[in-house]
């Protein structure tokens, strides 16, 4: 089981999802990360995975992105469960390969990657550290928590410019350089930027 590490002690993503019917997009079971099971081995594995960057947004690790869902041993074999961000994320295989390579390089001889679809990934699982790194990198992190309203555009948030901090920004396109981002522009510093949208 995955310890909470430097993440909030509450289940990740258990925030304000009041406007979701429980059977809706993000089900009631979002407590994907159970409370810490203090075993040294899990921490060691987690420390290795903290060093594996997301190939498309290399400033955050796969742990900070919230896609590592479980670390476990089955019959002595290390099993890491990973969830894709989007169904068609082209980095899925690359990420799995990078995780295996990092683990093998650290002495885990035969790690197994399990792809897990449920519960579906949400940007609510991005860690605080991950959000800060995104901002420093020039990508505006998700504003608020994921909801049906945020997906349908009924509650379009104000997205502060990650470069100058201005709130005078506007959406240029629903999609940016990757499926997980939208394209914005700042009306003050005039710079375009990616927004990591709420999902």
């Amino acid at each position: 089981m995955l310890p909470s590490g430097n993440q909030p002690s509450a289940p990740i993503g258990a925030g304000s999802i009041d406007d979701w019917p429980s059977k809706d997009l993000i089900g009631s079971d979002r407590s994907g990360l159970p409370p810490a099971g203090e075993t040294g081995d899990v921490d060691a594995v987690l420390a290795i995975l903290q060093q594996v960057p997301d190939p498309e947004v290399p400033v955050v690790s796969v742990v900070e992105l919230g896609i590592v869902r479980d670390i476990d041993w089955q019959d002595g074999q290390l099993v890491v469960s990973v969830t894709p961000t989007y169904s068609g994320c082209p980095a899925t295989e690359a990420i799995e390969q990078h995780i295996v390579e990092a683990l093998v390089a650290s002495g885990y001889s035969n790690p197994l990657i399990q792809r897990r679809l449920s519960p579906a990934w949400t940007t609510d699982w991005l860690t605080e550290a991950g959000r800060e790194k995104l901002r420093a990198y020039g990508i505006a992190p998700p504003v608020g928590s994921a909801s049906k309203r945020s997906l349908t555009g009924q509650s379009d948030p104000v997205v502060p410019c990650p470069l100058c901090g201005s709130e005078a920004t506007e959406r240029v396109s629903e999609f940016g350089s990757t499926a997980c981002k939208a394209l914005y522009r700042c009306r003050d510093c005039l710079e375009p930027f990616d927004y990591f949208k709420c999902l």
Binding site: S87, C89, P90, P119, K148, E174, F175
Partner: protein
């Protein structure tokens, strides 16, 4: 030659092929716009929508291949079947045309897709439920974008309004399959696997009416004559050309393991 039509195909496998093939073919239509979209931002959006659909198609087809038990995988089903074995809706194989055609087709599909996936997320089949729950987030966002474009074009200039209305009138004759259902849909509903097709039709119509009204577009009649047949493998001529392009490479190098 893989010919699923000649094999015993359970209703569930057929149903999964309908889901997977529709996502795959519309994804391929989007992908065909790479390098040709009217603006860079829209090109990125079209490619990302296509990518989502490819990912969803893979999830559905992988399940179909497992249930078939022939030792095939999602790639095999995508790249080694001929047009008559595809079970996609006719609307998704229609050619791209201009931007109004593209967004009109996308919107009518998205409106149906979102309501279908909402129902499938409650499926009695846990595998279908988890793929649907994941896909639903993506489809909801797709619908948001395609609705915005239909409204912007419909309620835009005289030229954009004329073109959006024309696009709607042209593609409308392929929407019959979205709201008609057959014994496969019936069997899926009875098994608790898929939602009630009549409820789905009602919800699709409500979304379509809401957006078209805001777009100041005239909705063609639900009773208009409709092309049907995609769900049983009777396709328009366009699908063959699309598959020829999409399948060319894997069919030319069928044993390639590295691309």
């Amino acid at each position: 030659m893989h010919n699923v039509a000649q094999k015993t195909q359970t209703p569930l496998i057929t149903y999964l092929l309908r889901l997977g093939d529709s996502a795959l073919v519309l994804g391929q239509r989007s992908a065909q716009l790479c390098g040709k979209a009217p603006a860079l931002e829209e090109e990125m959006a079209l490619m990302n929508v296509g990518l989502d659909l490819f990912g969803q198609a893979r999830n559905w087809l992988a399940y179909a291949a497992e249930l078939e038990g022939e030792g095939h995988d999602a790639d095999y089903l995508a790249f080694r079947r001929d047009a008559q074995d595809f079970r996609n809706l006719l609307i998704v194989e229609q050619p791209n045309g201009d931007f109004a055609d593209i967004m009109g087709r996308q919107f009518l599909f998205d409106a149906w897709h979102v309501h279908l996936l909402e129902g499938l997320a409650d499926s009695s089949d846990p595998r279908i439920a988890e793929v649907a729950a994941k896909s639903l987030k993506e489809a909801t966002y797709h619908l948001r974008r395609s609705s915005e474009w239909v409204i912007r074009l419909g309620d835009g200039t005289e030229e954009s309004h004329t073109r959006m209305q024309r696009a709607l009138d042209n593609i409308w004759q392929f929407t019959g399959e979205l709201v008609q259902f057959d014994e496969i849909d019936q069997a899926m509903q009875e098994a608790g696997i898929a939602p009630d097709p009549e409820t789905l039709a009602t919800r699709w119509k409500a979304t379509v009416e809401e957006v078209l009204e805001e777009a100041t577009l005239e909705r063609p009649s639900y009773d208009a004559w409709m092309y049907t047949g995609g769900k049983v493998g009777h396709h328009t001529e366009h699908l063959g050309f699309l598959l020829a392009e999409m399948q060319y490479l894997p069919r030319t190098y069928p044993d390639a393991t590295v691309w």
